[in-house]
Point group: C2
Chain length 545, copies 2
């Protein structure tokens, strides 16, 4: 039965139409029941409505083939049922305690009604006229994050937090825009106005390079840097080749000696390294670069020091673990995502600037808004119209508080350490990266080959590694499809494994609802799936013997 | 009484903390009551909770001075009360029928529960693993918008809509990112790989310019183009001086003769004009550029033709008014904001590309996600992690339907025409720009000087205009502060007023709940405020006599 074919349609006349703006949903409507379901027991609602077993994407696409905008309106109740049947059912249960493959987590309950309130208020933070109190509120939240990182004194914040002439940072849709904003500011500051030259923001990159006499620009980051940095280098006209990848050590941290050598090489070629990025929580392994050492190199070289702490920045909330990010307070700019370890829903990134004057080089104005001297936030953000996500972070800061965030961070890291120990204690698993924050990687390694792979000659070892990669991919895919638990996968080149291309399971343990039992289940399920990959296991055995 | 000082605090222990993730709000809690209030009668809720009269920002800021993240958690109920008292009360009633100064409107009721559902699902659309059905859903919505603009046949969409190798467009946070994405694609296509040269995305702008032998790049747009284009020119390394402003005619539309002359001049200086932007609904006056003529010029010049239809694109839904955008189907790319005339909450922009291969020049991959050949949406978007706003647009497409959107658009334009006539029929107002879409501008012009200003010598006329500008600013500010109705203001240089800098009221009539009575009230209120500006009025009279 074709459900869309049978969907009842409403009348498209103005009175009916206006009702969707004026008449609330009936108490007994499908939509009201959904709301109640969400409020009463979110996890149960999602468990009941999201189909566990994965349907192939090709099949799902069959429900989304028409390229015509429907000509006739549907009744809300009918369409809501359709959304439950065709959309909610086939979505991903990202907040499930067993979904430990990506950076989404369960969210605090109170954020659901507050999100609804935020939608109802529908403020636009680009300017005060459409956001009023949301402007000082967002400035305060940015001030709190700034202080968490930079620890300036009360007077510093009193003078700058609500000043029309300063910005402590910017809210944006996520880490990509935050990183881009930071590098935009860095580029414009290194190619700033001077004498007759009006600055890169006015005259463009070609004339800026001529003025300053450089043959190229470079941004440096470890080989584990986030892919968004490539986009930033492309967008800013530097080119992806201008994003220089610096080798990492066996802990996936940038090597300061390699960083220095790269800088020397670049300068010999008259290429200006204008920004160095420290990663505070790599996406794949959660490793934190030696920020103090990078800071010192940046100081010596006169480079902008940016820290991509999209993932790890929240660890500053923990007195026990903030030492991991030591040196972040020397960064010129820092990216933190609130939709990661600050437990907000998707769409909340931030960039903070040490110097509240740093963003002057990206300032802009218009006649109808953002007039000179106004406190409109839009004067110094990459995005224009924006929603009031800062409202949700403001509420979390008060309801969870620093002490609450500390507990969450400490728990996550403790859980990751527990899981690492658990993996290490198995006969048939191999821990690949030790967790520093709450991310770790590992793989399934059949007991039968665990010893032989280390002893056999290099060529054979490579062949076995290839099969193990196939096995890891196979297990990850089957596990995902069965829908009980989920880990992600990535490719690393661990020093311990001679730098071979190694596919690994990647686990992120930020969801406070993930129990130790679930971690045991994840391994059990992987072991069971592996036992079904008979031909791969046999190939391995044959090679290993 | 300092409320934050007296706020009760909860315990920061793990069990208490976990409750916010597992235990729903009580049926009698403040938050549940807010939700019920929103659901029962949104307008009443907002009217009851938002304070009408404006408090000075300086005063509001006093409640947001601390830069410390609170050390101890607050009870949800206490903090909710605080949010009502200090935040909701001082927010802007953007959905009020009398708030006709900016592009926010009342939203359909059903979007509130659906927003809550979207938050609860918390999908991340960067990749299929965290969004599954949301990926084909978003692709379908983009397909629908693409078809609305480009009217390709079924086969075109069947082959491309769900293809891993094609993109019909991209969802993003708003028009700024949409415009930036379009110009990024345009820049990378004009400086694409060729022979030994690996393309601007790889080698950067400096080497690209050398390879192609250009002394500069230029983007052309009318002087009414949106300020986000300046940011894009800056970001992309072209420089704001590379965004060339082309004069407009008396209807605020770009002058094709001036456009051609500008192109000739640029080429004489070896500057490559690589993109021309047609504005389909200028922010200030709602005017639509002659898209057909620009398309022809772009064809002749081999320029990328981008249409910024962030505001006006929705008019394509109306059979009666789609002719206004004729020529948009020839654009290489089009920006449309769903959070404007498609009635979504803040944070929903889109860019559509005529050629589904156009985005190959901004494609990117990584090991852990966005692998080659995957259908992950993140391979070809500027943003990374993103929320599932397409879900809300999908629901609107079905519940409102094309026919419903048509009614909304037609009503808005009819209302704007009515208001224009109303203004024209007043003795003491002056219509400045006639509405083409539902935006118009006007000013208060005391009857006593209405004739004299036209007849007096130029110098005097300028002096009177200056005072009128003061008066317009005064009225707009007072009206905003009184909080009953709200119009915005901008500065134009109308041909009819000898190109003098003229401050005008700007009105946007997209809210379906704005009645004709309210339009009368807006004028009455402005007249009353004007009558209180005695010294300005007297100065005008003195000059006019």
């Amino acid at each position: 039965m074709n459900s869309s074919g049978n969907t009842k349609t409403a009348d498209a006349n103005l009175d009916t139409l206006l009702r969707i703006f004026t008449v609330p949903e009936d108490r007994n409507s499908t939509l009201t029941k959904i709301e109640e379901g969400l409020s009463k027991n979110l996890n149960e609602f999602l468990r009941n409505h999201i189909v566990t077993e994965e349907r192939p994407l090709k099949e799902i696409e069959q429900d989304f083939l028409s390229s015509h905008i429907p000509e006739q309106p549907e009744f809300i109740s009918d369409h809501t049922q359709h959304l439950l049947d065709k959309v909610v059912s086939q979505s991903v249960h990202t907040s499930s305690p067993g979904f430990i493959g990506h950076m989404t987590s369960a969210l605090p309950y109170f954020l659901m009604p507050l999100s609804k309130l935020m939608t109802a208020l529908n403020q636009n933070l680009v300017k005060i006229e459409t956001s009023k109190v949301f402007t000082p509120l967002e400035r305060q939240v940015l001030g709190m994050l700034h202080r968490l990182i930079y620890q300036e004194d009360d007077n510093f914040y009193l003078q700058r937090m609500h000043s029309a002439h300063h910005s402590l940072g910017a809210f944006c849709s996520g880490g990509t825009i935050a990183n881009l904003t930071a590098l935009w500011v860095a580029r414009n500051n290194v190619l700033k106005a001077e004498g007759q030259f009006k600055g890169v923001e006015q005259e463009g990159l070609l004339r800026a390079m001529k003025h300053y006499g450089y043959d190229g620009l470079a941004i440096l980051v470890s080989e584990r840097g986030h892919y968004s940095l490539k986009k930033a280098a492309d967008l800013l006209g530097i080119g992806q080749e201008g994003l220089i990848s610096v080798p990492t050590d066996h802990n996936n941290k940038i090597r300061p000696d390699e960083l220095k050598a790269t800088l020397t090489r670049l300068k010999q070629n008259n290429i200006k390294p204008f920004a160095i990025i420290g990663v505070a929580g790599t996406t794949e392994t959660g490793s934190v670069d030696p920020l103090d050492e990078i800071a010192e190199i940046c100081r010596q070289e006169g480079c902008h020091f940016h820290v991509d702490a999209a993932w790890g920045g929240a660890a500053l909330m923990s007195k026990q673990h903030q030492y991991l990010l030591k040196g972040i307070e020397k960064a010129d700019s820092v990216t933190i995502d609130a939709h990661k370890q600050l437990y907000l829903p998707m769409g909340a990134g931030m960039v903070l600037f040490k110097d509240a004057d740093a963003t002057h080089v990206i300032e802009h104005h218009a006649q109808y808004i953002l007039r000179e001297g106004s406190k409109d936030l839009g004067c110094r953000t990459l995005e224009g119209s924006r929603s009031g996500m800062a409202f949700l972070l403001y509420a979390c800061m008060h309801i969870i508080s620093r002490a609450g965030y500390e507990l969450l961070i400490d728990e996550s890291i403790a859980k990751a350490k527990y899981f690492a120990e658990l993996i290490r204690s198995q006969q048939d698993f191999e821990l690949i990266t030790q967790p520093e924050l709450c991310i770790l990687t590992y793989r399934y390694l059949p007991e039968s080959v665990k010893d032989s792979i280390k002893q056999c000659p290099q060529e054979k070892r490579h062949a076995m590694n290839e099969i193990l990669n196939e096995l890891t991919k196979y297990i990850q895919k089957k596990q995902r499809e069965s829908g009980k638990t989920f880990v992600s996968r990535t490719q690393l080149n661990p020093v311990e494994l001679n730098g071979m291309d190694t596919i690994v399971f990647r686990v992120v343990l930020a969801n406070p609802l993930t129990s130790k039992e679930i971690l045991h289940e994840v391994l059990d399920e992987q072991r069971t799936i592996a036992s079904q990959a008979i031909s791969l296991i046999n190939k391995l055995k044959a090679l290993g013997s």
